[in-house]
């Protein structure tokens, strides 16, 4: 491997890894911190993508301007969904394990509901548009579409923001306390009834942002969500539940490993590579790379 090829592969891997990390951040809030295994995560991402695509092609709104809109719309939806479903579950489940199992069922229901709703509204056609697709050289003879670089930058910025939020603010401490001991958190005066929907909404909002950015780089359909959910699950498991830095690192590392792997073998081995890394890490560190006890 010449240094140029290595640099090319590294850069490609980092950009793809940025996608993985971005998709994983929202799920990490929901599952990593609240034990809501939201298998409909990819579906909410899809909603963000369709909102952006529709606004851009029908009204000419810039997809970048749609980023906060998608975030707000999905976050509001998240509050609503939480109020209708997970709040009741949290109140009636005897412990976190039962809550997790019941939550999973609810999430499956949401997955079908959201996917079919999107199908009814937008139809099954493959959709896409052209935005910021000009090639930008980043040095060393390597160039990327501008929209991908934006995506990587947003992934890095959001991960950094979440790390700061969770580590340094009172809100973040409250959220972490919620995770470590729900009962203890309530005892020290943390209002779980407000914090829960907030974190869930934040998770969905992030899915909306991810969908918004992905719609610039990939074609979209109502069925596009599921592979992203799987990728997100792998990434947060690798990184350690609840660790935003871990998710970022795991996403980027997975991207780089896949890029090199695909170069030396073929893209058909991509899944084998991803799962081999996944299994190896879990054998070595069953709680993920960055879990803190």
């Amino acid at each position: 491997v010449t240094p140029t090829v290595a640099w090319e592969l590294l850069a490609t891997g980092l950009v793809t890894g940025g996608v993985y990390a971005l998709v994983a951040l929202g799920l990490n809030l929901q599952y990593g911190l609240m034990r809501i295994l939201n298998v409909a995560h990819g579906e909410f991402l899809m909603l963000g993508a369709f909102l952006t695509c529709s606004a851009h092609t029908a009204l000419g709104v810039s997809p970048l301007a749609m980023m906060p809109v998608a975030f707000a719309a999905l976050a509001l939806l998240g509050f609503g969904i939480h109020r209708l479903t997970f709040r009741r579950l949290a109140a009636t489940s005897p412990n976190v394990d039962v809550f997790e199992a019941r939550g999973l069922m609810v999430a499956f229901g949401l997955m079908f509901l959201v996917q079919n709703a999107a199908q009814l509204i937008w139809g099954a056609d493959l959709r896409g548009y052209d935005y910021l697709s000009d090639s930008l050289p980043i040095g060393g003879g390597v160039a990327f579409a501008a929209n991908k670089l934006v995506l990587l930058a947003v992934a890095l910025a959001l991960a950094a923001a979440l790390i700061v939020l969770l580590r340094t603010t009172l809100l973040g401490k409250g959220v972490r306390a919620l995770m470590q001991s729900p009962v203890g958190a309530q005892l020290v005066g943390i209002d779980t009834r407000r914090l829960h929907p907030l974190v869930f909404g934040l998770g969905l909002g992030l899915a909306g942002v991810a969908g918004c950015l992905l719609s610039m780089t990939y074609t979209i359909t109502p069925a596009m969500g599921e592979p992203y959910t799987v990728t997100a699950l792998i990434v947060i498991t690798l990184g350690g539940f609840g660790s935003m830095g871990g998710a970022l690192f795991a996403g980027l590392a997975l991207g780089v490993i896949e890029a090199f792997g695909m170069h030396f073998t073929s893209p058909s081995f991509k899944a084998v590579l991803s799962y081999a890394v996944f299994i190896a890490v879990l054998l070595w560190k069953p709680d993920g790379l960055f879990t803190r006890r």
């Binding site: 090829v5 090319e8 592969l9 490609t12 950009v15 793809t16 996608v19 369709f50 695509c53 529709s54 851009h56 092609t57 029908a58 996917q115 079919n116 199908q119 009814l120 509204i121 937008w122 139809g123 099954a124 056609d125 493959l126 959709r127 896409g128 548009y129 052209d130 697709s133 090639s135 390597v142 160039a143 990327f144 579409a145 991908k148 780089t217 990939y218 074609t219 359909t221 109502p222 069925a223 592979p227 896949e258 890029a259 090199f260 695909m262 170069h263 073929s266 893209p267 058909s268 991509k270 899944a271």
Partner: protein, 409 residues
């Protein structure tokens, strides 16, 4: 600027709606003062097709819109001509959810217990592979618009007909065109399923003795999200021609990533989806000069133009028929219509009618040898100034090949 992603659309809706549509149109036709339509029993036509799940993209672009358009046109004319008597078409249609099992079960019910008069095929090679033997057993003529597999031909099912050109003629046409245009080296990527593998095998055979060499071949899985590393290594080998044996999302992915890394070979070919209007919408000026699987456009004949216009009128300017399988789906319906007009609903007679003659259609004369349509030769299309032109073979060309491909815009 085209708007590929419109707000909520009104085109295709679930089962009941489609059936009601057909029924309503039928009822209207019956109510009209037509001597033929009076009190005629409907012709019940059954099918299952993907409206949800991963197959729905292809199914809702190239196939079901044609079924709906066909029923609407026939019913507006008073119904389907059954040996001189007009009878309204009534669809018994449902979503197969992109599941083979659901698909097979639905057809078993349609043919076994519902005993519909006719069936229309599902979408895709895999579903047709599963349903074709069943249709053969129940002796329902089956004119499949979207199945591409040599193995389906080899099964020699007398009631089964493939309307699309198969891998061998398609790859032979491509190689002949590349050779004539002076290409020396070829690199390929192919999706690792039945479609990709069969086309890859056909490409290798076609390249033998052509004087061209294959400098790189790599497979990729369905649903791939990144072809960057492969395309970069192909770029380093600087082939004259790039051949992507790809499905619609990957066709667009490969094109976007090639543009991204500045990989601009003299010939850039991608398979399914290149002939979709979506490709032009997404790639915009970058579509110029890109080659792909195609066999017709509205310039081909007056009938092709009439079909194209009717499709756009019914489904809107954002839902043009694609320049490959859509036309073949329509041709299948034209043949079926002619068969029923001639021999009625006797399925054995329909089968014999289809198998025997040469059938004039919007895309040209269709003729079957066994299951295979040998009337329409393999072809290559190319985006030129916003239209997907047929550039090979010369006998069907609507424009001349632009080579080398201009730089990605």
């Amino acid at each position: 600027m085209p708007t590929p992603c419109p707000t909520p659309r009104k085109a295709l809706r679930p089962t009941r709606r489609a059936a009601l549509h057909a029924l309503a149109a039928g009822a209207a036709a019956t109510a009209a003062p037509s001597a033929f339509a009076q009190a005629a029993a409907p012709v019940r036509v059954g099918y299952a097709i993907a409206r949800t799940g991963p197959w729905s993209v292809g199914a809702q672009t190239s196939q079901e819109p044609n079924y709906l358009l066909w029923a609407e046109q026939q019913n507006a004319a008073g119904g389907l001509d059954v040996k001189g008597r007009r009878r309204p078409i009534e669809f018994v249609a449902s979503d197969d959810r992109s599941e083979i099992e659901t698909c097979v079960r639905t057809y078993e019910k349609l043919m076994g217990s519902d005993k519909v008069d006719l069936v229309l095929p599902p979408w895709g090679s895999n579903a047709n592979f599963a349903v074709a033997p069943l249709a053969n057993r129940f002796q329902y003529p089956f004119l499949a618009p979207t199945a591409l597999s040599r193995r389906l031909v080899e099964m020699k099912l007398p009631y089964f007909f493939l309307l699309l050109q198969q891998p061998k003629p398609m790859m032979e046409a491509l190689v002949a065109m590349l050779k004539a245009a002076g290409a020396r080296t070829v690199a390929t990527i192919y999706v690792d399923d039945l479609f990709g593998l069969e086309n890859y095998a056909a490409l290798k055979v076609a390249l033998q003795g052509s004087g061209m060499s294959l400098v790189e071949d790599k497979s990729y899985p369905l649903g791939v999200k990144d072809l960057g590393p492969v395309l970069r290594s192909i770029k380093d080998k600087a082939p004259d021609a790039f051949v992507g044996l790809t499905y619609p999302p990957d066709t667009i992915l490969a094109s976007r990533q090639s543009r991204e890394i500045g990989f601009n070979p003299r010939f850039f070919y991608a398979s399914v989806g290149t002939a979709f209007q979506l490709y032009r919408n997404v790639m915009q000026a970058g579509a110029e000069g890109v080659l792909g699987m195609g066999s017709w456009n509205s310039k081909r004949s007056a009938a092709a133009k009439a079909y194209f216009d009717a499709h756009v009128k019914k489904f809107g300017a954002q839902k043009e028929p694609d320049r490959w399988a859509s036309g073949h789906a329509w041709a299948g319906l034209e043949i079926l219509t002619a068969a029923v007009a001639k021999v009625g609903l006797d399925r054995k007679a329909i089968r014999d009618f289809v198998a025997a003659g040469t059938h004039p259609t919007a895309i040209g004369d269709v003729r079957f040898q066994g299951s295979e349509n040998v009337g329409i030769p393999g072809g290559v299309g190319q985006w030129q100034k916003g239209e997907f032109e047929i550039v090979w073979p010369a006998s069907r060309a609507t424009a001349t090949l632009v080579a080398p491909k201009p730089a990605w815009a």
